[in-house]
Structures are given as structure tokens and as C-alpha cells.
């Protein structure tokens, strides 16, 4: 674990603590704003809810992405591959805001539509990484594993997933960063998160709030990226 990978996390923590006392600074920057600091909820509480949204979306996304990726790469799983491709194409074509807007009539306002969109968007990089990583397992290794008498499950668990773990975790990391950024959009549908000050700032014509929400969201994305890089295994492949 290198110190550099923890730097964004420290910056994010520093910003969370420092923002509440920077009211005069924002007041000077935006003199026309009546409330230069977003005070309706604490930034720490917003960040915690934002993080909760991300985790709540990332776990199912990782499970679906890895599961679909594994299923799509099994021999004779042409239908699964078609479904995965369709899903990936759909998720790519429709912007997050549209997914949220379409979800609201079905699941109502609040965190639910945001979660739905997050799961959709976070699944894609995991799925891609899983399919790609499993495809890089050398055919000779698979032949040897089969020839040694491993069952398909043993091949997957003992050989394929360990060899593909690095790129799959990289995909999860991409998904996490994407989820942090996308979660902010969830505020449109009423989800409580770091996007809430941004939406409130846009609605009330208060650029200071927009900057505060955007700054924290951005720093949180960097922090998550750094933390996951720090805890990811160096590489399952040989040195």
C-alpha cells in the first residue's frame, strides 16, 4: 500500500471538515448568495448517505456483473452472451438521468430510482472486465486443468477466477468511481446525497452550493479510486 493512494482520501476528509468553516470564503466569492454555505444538512451526513448509496448499488452490481460475465463465458452460453450484450448496449445508450426519470413512475421518488440507475451503470464495467479477464486465461492452462480432471466448477474457482481477479477488481474499481459520480444525479429524484446541494444550488440560483456539492463528489470519487487501488491485490499473475 503506497501513501500516494491514500492522499485523495485524506483530501476528501479534510474538505469534509473544512467546508463548514469556510462560509466567509464562499460569501466573499459569491457576494450575491444569501446563504453562502449549504446548511440544510451536514456535509458529513450527506457524504455518509452518498457512500451508502454507492455501496448499496456496488454490491449487487458486482454480483450481477461477475455472475453474468462468468455465465456468458461458459461454453454453449450463447443466449447469456446475447442478454449481456443487450444489457450493456442499453446501459450505454441511455443516460443516467433518463434511467432515473423512467424509474420514478415505477418506484417513486427518493433513493430507489437512484439505486436502480446506479446498479445499471455500475454493472457494465464489472461485466466487461469479467468477460475480458476470463478471456485472457491461456487456453493451454484451461486444457491442462480439464486434463487434470478438474470439474467445470473447480476450473472456475481454482484457476479462472484467480487468474482473472486482477482485471475484475479493476473493473469493480471503475464501477465504484462511476457510481460515486452517478449517485450525485440521484438527487434529481430526491435521493439524499452529495448531489443534493448541487440540485438545491441550481434551483435556488446559488452557485456556492453547486460548487460545494461538486467538490465533495469529485473528491469522494478520487478517494474511492485511491482506496480501492490501495487494497487491491498487486496482481494474481507472476512477478
Amino acid at each position: 500500500m503506497r501513501i500516494a493512494t491514500l492522499l485523495p482520501a485524506m483530501l476528501f476528509a479534510l474538505a469534509l471538515l473544512a467546508l463548514p468553516v469556510l462560509g466567509p470564503f464562499f460569501g466573499a466569492l459569491f457576494p450575491e448568495a444569501a446563504e453562502p454555505l449549504y446548511l440544510r444538512q451536514g456535509f458529513v451526513a450527506l457524504a455518509a448517505k452518498h457512500g451508502g448509496l454507492v455501496i448499496a448499488a456496488l454490491l449487487p452490481a458486482a454480483a450481477i456483473g461477475i455472475g453474468l460475465g462468468v455465465a456468458a463465458t461458459r461454453p454453449g452460453a450463447r443466449e447469456v452472451r446475447v442478454v449481456a450484450d443487450t444489457l450493456a448496449g442499453f446501459a450505454q445508450a441511455v443516460p443516467p438521468v433518463a434511467v432515473i426519470a423512467m424509474a420514478v413512475p415505477v418506484v417513486g421518488f427518493g433513493a430507489a430510482p437512484a439505486l436502480l440507475a446506479l446498479v445499471c451503470y455500475a454493472t457494465l464495467p464489472v461485466l466487461r472486465a469479467t468477460v475480458g479477464a476470463l478471456a485472457t486465461v491461456p487456453p493451454d492452462v484451461l486444457d491442462a486443468a480439464r486434463g487434470a480432471g478438474m470439474t467445470p466448477r473447480q476450473m472456475l474457482v481454482q484457476v479462472e477466477l484467480p487468474l482473472a481477479a486482477g482485471p475484475i477488481l479493476a473493473g469493480v474499481r471503475v464501477a465504484a468511481v462511476l457510481a460515486v459520480a452517478t449517485a450525485a444525479v440521484g438527487a434529481v429524484a430526491g435521493a439524499n446525497c452529495l448531489g443534493t446541494p448541487i440540485i438545491a444550488g441550481l434551483v435556488n440560483g446559488n452557485p456556492a452550493w453547486v460548487i460545494q456539492g461538486a467538490l465533495l463528489t469529485g473528491l469522494m470519487a478520487f478517494a474511492v479510486d485511491g482506496l480501492l487501488a490501495a487494497f487491491a491485490p498487486v496482481s494474481a499473475s507472476p512477478p
Partner: protein, 310 residues
């Protein structure tokens, strides 16, 4: 031991095996020889059910291999491939232990077996046990590949062009190693190659294939002496027929008893082939060589003209 009965297999429109009948006797070092597309790898991979026949059957000790679950069958059949296919995320020891672990051996027995096999393949356990495949040379990696195939003490060893990707020197060393292993373990070995000299050097039984069929099967010498098919003759001749005939006889079978061994004559081991005897004579510009046993005691002498009896 291994018997193919009317085996057919097509991959799409391509016919790989077109009615293969072949029996490999117990304890043989059998080599399937043929050009690419002859169907030899397909035949080999049917023995451990990596390929299933469209028609016909493959018998192992009289029992159809299709009657046994494929993973269980494969665990008692050693398998070595050209690409070696060591598991890159495991140490050498863990690689060799692959099948014993699948069979549920206890750790102590596995560790002992791993060291035993490393010694058998002439790799120092203390040095190589904990290495990763990426840290091995090609020759060392294939030694580990062979050790892995032998780990659970299978009766049969299947080898699919095992030395094809190695340089000439390493390849020859491993060929000699396999001859030694075959003699030491008595295992039935089925090896696929397109290299005529490799086939002649290793085989006790040689089967020549073309177009998914068996052309001829027998001892290497019998095939050299009496090819049953022009394609067998063309393949085995290759412009080196005389040298190849010399390569399949032992020098000791041509030797005369030694009365006195002139010190000026070159000396070669009694296990050498006629071809190696000729090579030694040509190299030393001598008209005879002395065969010496492991202790260095002369056991016979081969003169140049003796080679004509090969």
C-alpha cells in the same frame, strides 16, 4: 491397454478420424506419428475424453472410457501438452500437487510425492519447489509438466507434442529423460508427434497415421524395414533411411566381444544406438568404437563394417 475401435470424429465439415482401429499394449511407449491433420491429437484426446468420438469407442483395460465420469477418468490418466499449461498463479509444488489434491490426498503425502517427483525429473526440490512457473526455463517447465502428469501415479501417460516448443538441445535431453522414465516406471505412454526422429528415438510401438486412419503399426524397426504403405515409406525415409535404421538398433547388438580395447579408439556407452556409434567413429576418424559400461569397463567393440548388419 488402450484400444481404439472404429473411431470416427468430425469437426464441422472436417473429418479428423475416419475409422481408427489401434491397440496399444500394456507398458508400451507408443508413438502416434503423422503430419498435421492426420488426426493423431484427436485420437490422443479421446483417451481422457477431452474429445468424444462420433462413432466407435475407446477402451482402457477393456472398459469403454465413456462409461466413467470424465473428471474421475482424467485424474487417473497423466496428460502433458505442448503448451505445458502450468497454472501460473501456483508454485511448482502446488502445480505438481494438482491431481493429488483433487483426489483428496493428505498434505504430508502430497509434499512427499512432490519432492519425489522433482527428484525423478532431476529438479532440486529445495530450489524449485516454491518457484513460480514464470521463473522456470522452457525445459524446466516441461519437466514440471511431466511431474504434474505423473503425480497421482497414473497407469497411462498421454503426451501431445510435449517437446514441440522446446529448443533442440532441451528437446533431446527430455527425450532421453522420457526413455529413462519409461524404463524406470513401466508406464504405458501414448505420445503424439510429427517429428520422425523423435518418434524413432522414443517408440517401442510406432503407429503412423494419415487422413484420420492408421496406416501401419509395429516396432519402429519393422516399419522401417517393411513399410506397408508408400506414405509410411516416404515419411520414414525422408532422405535419411540408412541413418534412421541405425538409430533404432543398439550399438551393443552389433558389437563383437572385446579382446583388447585399443586406447586410441573412441568410447561410447553400451546404451548408445548404432547411429551414435557411427557418429563417434566419424568424429574421431576411427574405424571402430569401444562400448563401455557405466563403470567404464569395455564390453564390446563395434567396427564400421558391423554397422552394415543393422
Amino acid at each position: 491397454m488402450i484400444r481404439f475401435e472404429g473411431v470416427r470424429k468430425s469437426f464441422g465439415a472436417a473429418r479428423a478420424l475416419d475409422g481408427l482401429d489401434l491397440a496399444v499394449p500394456e507398458g508400451a511407449f507408443a508413438v502416434l506419428l503423422g503430419g498435421s491433420g492426420a488426426g493423431k491429437s484427436t485420437a490422443l484426446r479421446m483417451v481422457n475424453r477431452l474429445v468424444e468420438p462420433d462413432a466407435g469407442r475407446v477402451l482402457l483395460r477393456g472398459r469403454d472410457v465413456a462409461g466413467e465420469a470424465a473428471p474421475a477418468l482424467r485424474r487417473r490418466v497423466g496428460y502433458v501438452i505442448q503448451g505445458i499449461g502450468l497454472f501460473p498463479h501456483w508454485t511448482v509444488a502446488r502445480n505438481i500437487a494438482a491431481v493429488p489434491r483433487l483426489l483428496g490426498w493428505d498434505e504430508r503425502r502430497i509434499a512427499a510425492r512432490v519432492d519425489e517427483l522433482l527428484v525423478l525429473l532431476r529438479l532440486d526440490p529445495a530450489i524449485h519447489r516454491d518457484r513460480r512457473p514464470a521463473e522456470l526455463s522452457g525445459g524446466q517447465a516441461q519437466r514440471v509438466g511431466v511431474a504434474r502428469a505423473l503425480a497421482a501415479d497414473p497407469d497411462i501417460l498421454l503426451m501431445d507434442e510435449p517437446f514441440g516448443a522446446l529448443d533442440a538441445v532441451t528437446r533431446q535431453a527430455l527425450q532421453q529423460e522420457m526413455t529413462r522414465l519409461h524404463a524406470a516406471t513401466g508406464k504405458t505412454i501414448l505420445l503424439v508427434t510429427h517429428d520422425v526422429d523423435e518418434a524413432l528415438a522414443l517408440a517401442t510401438r510406432l503407429a503412423v497415421m494419415a487422413d484420420g486412419r492408421l496406416l501401419q503399426e509395429g516396432t519402429p524397426r519393422a516399419l522401417l524395414e517393411a513399410p506397408a504403405d508408400p506414405r509410411v515409406r516416404d515419411l520414414l525415409d525422408g532422405g535419411a533411411f540408412g541413418m534412421r535404421r541405425l538409430a533404432v538398433v543398439t550399438a551393443s547388438s552389433l558389437a563383437a566381444p572385446v579382446t583388447e580395447a585399443p586406447a586410441t579408439l573412441p568410447r561410447i556407452p553400451t546404451t548408445a544406438t548404432g547411429r551414435e556409434a557411427l557418429e563417434a567413429m566419424l568424429a574421431a576418424r576411427a574405424d571402430a568404437v569401444v562400448l563401455v559400461d557405466a563403470a567404464g569397463v569395455p564390453s564390446g567393440v563395434v567396427a564400421l563394417r558391423d554397422l552394415l548388419r543393422a
